[in-house]
Symmetry: C2
Subunit: 158 residues, 2 copies
DNA sequence: GTAGAAGTTGAAGTCAACTTGAAGTCAAGC
DNA sequence: GCTTGACTTCAAGTTGACTTCAACTTCTAC
């Protein structure tokens, strides 16, 4: 029989608050069996899931995305190290893209905001979408951001 | 007499929705005078502020932080290019730190998650705070994140 | 057998950054 | 004078990821 952990134990060992554990259960990220009296009992396996969740959150994934990843784990058998590392392989590309976006933004600071041209008609810092729309020479200013500021407006003052 | 822009004009030229402009006024990021009838009239200067706000948001600053920056602008006179570029100079360091953090996280993928060790006691990917606490050999895994996932838990499974 | 800790549920609250809606006002043209 | 469109305020709704609360139950120890 596998070890069954209580909410408090899982909370203490995972660092997630009990309320977060319940929330994750609601959202389908983790599951728990119940005692006859209705208390949750966690398989120790859940700690690995929670470690994955913590890391994924750090990478910037939403809970929906994390659940989608976790859904790729094999059903019926305990996931192996290979299973876990396969899931996180995509993060690499995501992080690369995000780093690239930030570097482009940083480099734009020197050329654009640094010179005070912030308010110009097509300043790329305040108006990065222009670049995505028309990748002219010297463009590639902002690869699609990974944590997209949703519906960011276009600024074309004066 | 300086040009006075209507809400619609500012909205169209800045890309911010009228509701956002009102919200920013509430929050003290921009201001507007009023006509005798109570309608907002914006100084053209506001477009530069909005361009700054758009860029700052892209860098990841909160509205509170942006307002704090804008409060550093000189009162009484129209800000110069130097004034504006001084404000954005801090972004450079912020972006550098954020890039560094992401690179460290990405490099950790290869060594840590890539090998399946995600669930180990002190895995640095799921538990970056450990590194901040004790910068042992091979540490420096995660500089303080700039968009801090507030109250991120520590995960120390099994 | 009973106190107290630990756990349960469901509903509501939180935060940021807005958006949406309702109900009313102002301004311009005819 | 009236319609129409632009605008006003204030209140409430939205989203994501939870937390907090109230009211109740279950388990453990003595």
């Amino acid at each position: 029989m596998t070890v069954r952990l209580t909410v408090t134990e899982v909370s203490e060992r995972s660092g997630f608050a009990p309320s977060a554990l319940r929330y994750y259960e609601d959202r389908g990220l983790v599951d728990a069996t119940r005692t006859p009296g209705g208390r949750r009992r966690y398989d120790r396996e859940v700690l690995r899931r929670l470690a994955f969740i913590a890391a994924a959150k750090h990478v910037g994934l939403s809970l929906d995305e994390i659940r989608a990843s976790l859904d790729l784990l094999p059903e019926g058998r305990t996931p192996t190290k290979r299973d876990w590392s396969r899931l996180s392989r995509d993060w690499r590309a995501r992080l690369d893209a995000e780093i690239e976006a930030l570097e482009a933004l940083r480099d734009g600071l020197d050329g654009c905001i640094g010179c005070g041209c912030l308010s110009l008609q097509r300043c790329r810092l305040s108006n990065p979408d222009d670049v995505l729309a028309s990748r002219g020479p010297g463009a590639a200013f902002l690869p699609a951001p990974l944590h997209p500021t949703p519906d960011r407006p276009r600024v074309t003052p004066e």
